[in-house]
């Protein structure tokens, strides 16, 4: 064929080059894989987490129960969260809404982050800045987040907020009435969310305390509730308050149809079918 003279690389040569390239890339990647800290970090950190069916029962799985029948809509949990986590009014991690049952009765709906075990936000994050910890908490790495906001698009519960602006030195309106900030303020340009007061939970082991029972290591919203509508504890421990309620009372999880495996259970108000 006349063509072969003018073709710089023929198709057969191209295939040979491709095969060669494929083999050499494979040969380079396979032994390098365990050595690369990046790839190793990926295997260690992502694979066991963020998937359905974490069945390690020896680990705690922190969860919450919110009794919608008890909630009176005082918004104390909202303010306590803002004060403890240094959250301004327009970025609330824990929100309150007035909803209605099909029978026409109103009820008070509050929503922290649901800490899904199969979290849509975790799956979509391009840099693993958010992930499910072994104890079930969905947490943010503020130093890694690039601020693309794909997690906000993916979260079915609007549980994530973005730092559109940098936060100056404005004093919080709820300090000292509602407590003092216990965590660092987040920088402009990253996404943030409810942490179940992770800084308290992480102190529990060394202080020998139990989250959900000892108030020092329990989320602020749970402690402050005047009608005890919020319970916190280890879903894997049958004797914890949350596990006992879930085993004895009908509960629902928000948008359970999406299979997010949320760690927050709601006791529905009267008139709301499960």
């Amino acid at each position: 064929m006349d063509d072969s003279k003018t073709t710089l690389v023929t198709r057969r040569e191209l295939l040979q080059i491709m095969l060669g390239a494929g083999i050499s890339v494979g040969a380079a990647v396979v032994p390098a894989e365990p050595l690369s800290p990046i790839i190793r970090g990926y295997f260690e950190r992502l694979e066991p987490e963020g998937t359905i069916g974490r069945d390690s029962r020896d680990q705690p799985h922190w969860g919450m129960v919110i009794d919608l029948g008890k909630c009176i809509g005082c918004e104390y949990c909202v303010y306590a969260c803002q004060a403890t986590n240094d959250v301004p009014d327009d970025m609330r991690w824990n929100v309150h809404l007035v909803d209605e049952t099909p029978t026409g009765d109103i009820f008070h709906m509050t929503r922290p982050c649901l800490h899904c075990q199969n979290a849509p936000c975790v799956k979509v994050c391009p840099v693993q800045a958010t992930y499910v910890r072994d104890d079930g908490l969905v947490i943010m790495d503020y130093d890694r987040c690039i601020g693309c906001r794909y997690c906000q698009a993916a979260c079915p519960y609007d549980a994530r907020v973005f730092n559109w602006d940098s936060r100056g030195d404005e004093t919080l309106p709820y300090v000292p009435e509602w407590g003092a900030p216990e965590v660092e303020r987040r920088a402009r340009g990253v996404v943030e969310k409810c942490t179940f007061c992770i800084h308290r939970i992480d102190e529990a082991a060394e202080r020998g305390l139990t989250p959900g029972i000892d108030t020092d290591v329990t989320p602020a919203c749970v402690n402050v509730c005047p009608v005890e509508a919020r319970y916190f504890g280890d879903l894997n421990d049958p004797s914890s308050p949350v596990a006992q309620i879930i085993s004895s009372t009908p509960t629902l999880r928000l948008r359970n149809d999406l299979g997010t495996e949320a760690s927050v259970y709601y006791i529905p108000p009267r008139g709301l079918a499960i």
Binding site: T7, I38, V98, M109, P120, Q128, I146, G147, W164
Partner: protein, 429 residues
């Protein structure tokens, strides 16, 4: 140096004024980008309910419209259709301009531009956005590889021995570049649709057809853009840049891609909106119909004017031979892609998520109209694109088979068609 510029301006005043206008647009963009880098995203109209807007729509459009590069490179270097090199170089440059434009838009859009490199270090292989980022980075390198030899060949740079060798070396690698380019493009052009398609929480987005729709649409409109840019540049330069039969065949290809896109789009609509019933999707579409021009723009701009009309013009021989009809079809096709990307981005955010278990209507329709600084960045991106193209068309050898004769009438196009195929035959035999 100054006198050379002065002579140039004196000899081509219209071109110089055009370049100056584009430079001014680019300047507006530079100012806006710096403004955003200093002030963050607070000056945009985005909010926690509507986190992506104009910039993402522009970014998706720019990448989609760059799809002509991989399609035509594959035709030339993989399928051995070497005569298409007469337009493939232009397609590759258009691709590179699109991808760089998209990267500018993304750089501004992320909250922490200083961490733009994080996806390269911290991998989340479960995220389509990660896959897109990696593909776009690598594919931009492929496009650079394809464009560098053109730049070296057409300028004084070729006198440098190393650069001359480099151009030849890169040219030899073209088939590999085309192969990688095609693989990467097939991945990320589809994943851009999947970015929305995989989000189960938002019924308007959640759709397995979105990735395929995105790539078919990108191929159709990407080729269309290459075609119209070539035809318009050709009439400004009063030169026939690409042989008539090549234009003819490429228009046909764009028409076929448009039809494929249209077919899948209609079935996607019929399967999810018409023949089935999903309460959540119905609620969202109802809200969109009541509050936005979504339904109207979908049927008129995406389907009818954006796909059907261009397909007819591209495939009907009579209209295909008319240069103005071709330009019209190309413009409509490009417009169709942009409206699709805009509607896709906005529709899912416009209707709020309903996560509360009660029946009250708590989640309002979110509205969005881009702020001044958002438009400023887009003006800059368009200016950048046109400026780079205008300079390249003037100073680079983008069209290796260009001839110094204006391509004016349809009859001539047919004649050249015959003549070209006549010429081509002995060469191939």
């Amino acid at each position: 140096m100054i006198s050379t510029v002065r002579d140039f301006v004196r000899n081509s005043p219209a071109y110089s004024a055009w370049v100056l206008l584009l430079a001014a647009m680019f300047g507006v963009g530079v100012y806006s980008v710096i403004y955003v880098l200093i002030n963050g995203l607070a000056p945009t109209s985005l909010s926690d309910n509507l986190v992506w807007g104009l910039w993402i729509a522009v970014d998706l459009s720019a990448i989609g419209l760059g799809a002509g590069a991989f399609t035509l490179s594959a035709a030339v270097y993989l399928l051995g259709m070497k005569r298409y090199e007469s337009i493939a170089r232009a397609a590759v440059l258009i691709g590179l301009l699109g991808y760089t434009a998209a990267m500018i838009a993304l750089f501004v859009d992320i909250g922490r531009p200083d961490r733009f490199y994080h996806p390269l270090i911290y991998w989340n292989v479960h995220s389509v956005l990660w896959e897109i980022t990696i593909c776009v980075v690598f594919y931009s390198m492929v496009l650079m590889m394809e464009v560098i030899p053109i730049v070296i060949e057409s300028t004084a740079l070729k006198r440098n021995r190393f650069l001359h060798w480099l151009a030849g070396f890169l040219h030899r690698l073209m088939p590999i570049a085309a192969l990688f380019g095609m693989g990467l493009s097939l991945l990320h052009q589809s994943s851009l649709g999947a970015t929305y398609g995989v989000l189960t929480a938002r019924p308007v987005w959640y759709s397995p057809s979105a990735p395929v729709l995105f790539i078919l649409n990108a191929v159709a409109s990407g080729i269309s853009l290459t075609l119209i840019v070539t035809l318009i540049t050709s009439s400004f330069m009063k030169r026939r840049l690409v042989p008539g039969d090549i234009i003819n065949n490429i228009a046909k290809l764009a028409g076929i891609a448009s039809l494929a896109y249209l077919y899948l789009k209609l079935w996607s609509w019929a399967a999810t909106n018409y023949y089935s019933h999903s309460p959540a999707l119905e609620r969202d579409l109802e809200l969109l119909r009541e509050n936005t021009p979504y339904g109207f723009t979908f049927w008129w701009f995406e389907v009818l004017l954006g796909a059907l009309v261009p397909a007819v013009i591209f495939l009907w021989p009579r209209t295909r031979r008319n240069r103005y009809a071709l330009i019209l079809a190309g413009v409509l096709s490009v417009m169709g892609l942009i409206v699709y990307r805009w509607n896709m981005t906005l529709s899912g955010f416009t209707v709020g998520l309903d996560w509360s278990p009660g029946v009250a209507e708590l989640f309002p329709v979110n509205t969005y109209s881009p702020s001044l600084v958002e438009w400023g960045v887009v003006v800059g991106i368009v200016g950048y694109w046109l400026l780079a193209w205008s300079l390249a068309a003037r100073f680079l050898r983008l069209y290796p088979h260009a001839k110094d004769e204006p391509e004016s009438s349809a009859a001539e196009a047919v004649e050249t068609h015959a003549a070209d195929s006549g010429e081509a035959r002995p060469a191939q035999a």
